[in-house]
Symmetry: C2
Subunit: 122 residues, 2 copies
DNA sequence: GGTGGCCGCTTCGGAAATCGAAACGGAGGA
DNA sequence: TCCTCCGTTTCGATTTCCGAAGCGGCCACC
């Protein structure tokens, strides 16, 4: 639940995402995050540092910790879902595919649970 | 990126998460979400409805769409990471102060859906 | 030596998101 | 009838976010 709170903040996920390719400094990272406010940037950075998701190199750049890398990887399925989602709600928006494949994005069999989830960790 | 914006809002992920066990009405859902404000609740619900992540049953309860179910499943690796993360930064919460362990929590967690993470795009 | 650019980071006022509680009409049970 | 729960809306107060300016420091360039 605390994770949902940490990542439910406005730029946390984005920072995690933009740091995936390697360490970045304050301003370069800010620029990558759609030029977000430096004040909020510092705030998120502090939270992520405190959560040990990122750490600061001696040259003051920010880098994902091993824990952060895991989090970033845990984000991968969500990123993949986002693509399907974008194709579903906005088929003509980003990348119109000439073929008809986009129409069949919802595959009710893949989830493999005709019954609702039971006893999940909560 | 739009997904990061949708889910970067304050209760979106939580709502998605609390709806995993089945459809819920407005007030019951609100109660599950740490008694969040009804105003924000309605706002999030509208956004999620618009994003076709949830839909409303004839008895006016809210339920995940197939697309929403996929999103919920895509959240599973993150949930699993959150447990490891909690054990790392707060070892006395579940395990006593043994810094070395980082052992897995003793949950036979049922997150085992059919969507294992296969690392690609990296 | 001076100037200019980029750096990490902070401060501040205004805008936007969020909160918290109250209220509405409706359905059902006692 | 009264009481409870429901979905939903409204409104003022608080929190968060934004956007721009500014600080000192570093280094390249002239």
């Amino acid at each position: 639940m605390a994770a949902l709170d940490l990542f439910g903040r406005r730029w946390s996920l984005r920072i995690l995402w933009e740091l995936r390719a390697g360490p970045l400094g304050f301003r370069p990272l800010q620029k990558r995050c759609d030029d977000m406010s430096s004040s909020v940037m510092r705030q998120r950075l502090t939270e992520l540092l405190d959560a040990q998701v990122i750490h600061q190199l001696p040259d003051s750049r920010y880098e994902l910790t091993p824990l952060g890398q895991e989090a970033r990887h845990a984000l991968n399925p969500l990123a993949r879902w986002a693509e399907r989602w974008a194709a579903t709600i906005d088929p003509q928006g980003s990348d119109h595919t000439d073929d008809q494949s986009a129409s069949r994005v919802s595959h009710p069999d893949t989830v493999g649970d005709g019954a609702p989830e039971r006893g999940s960790a909560d």
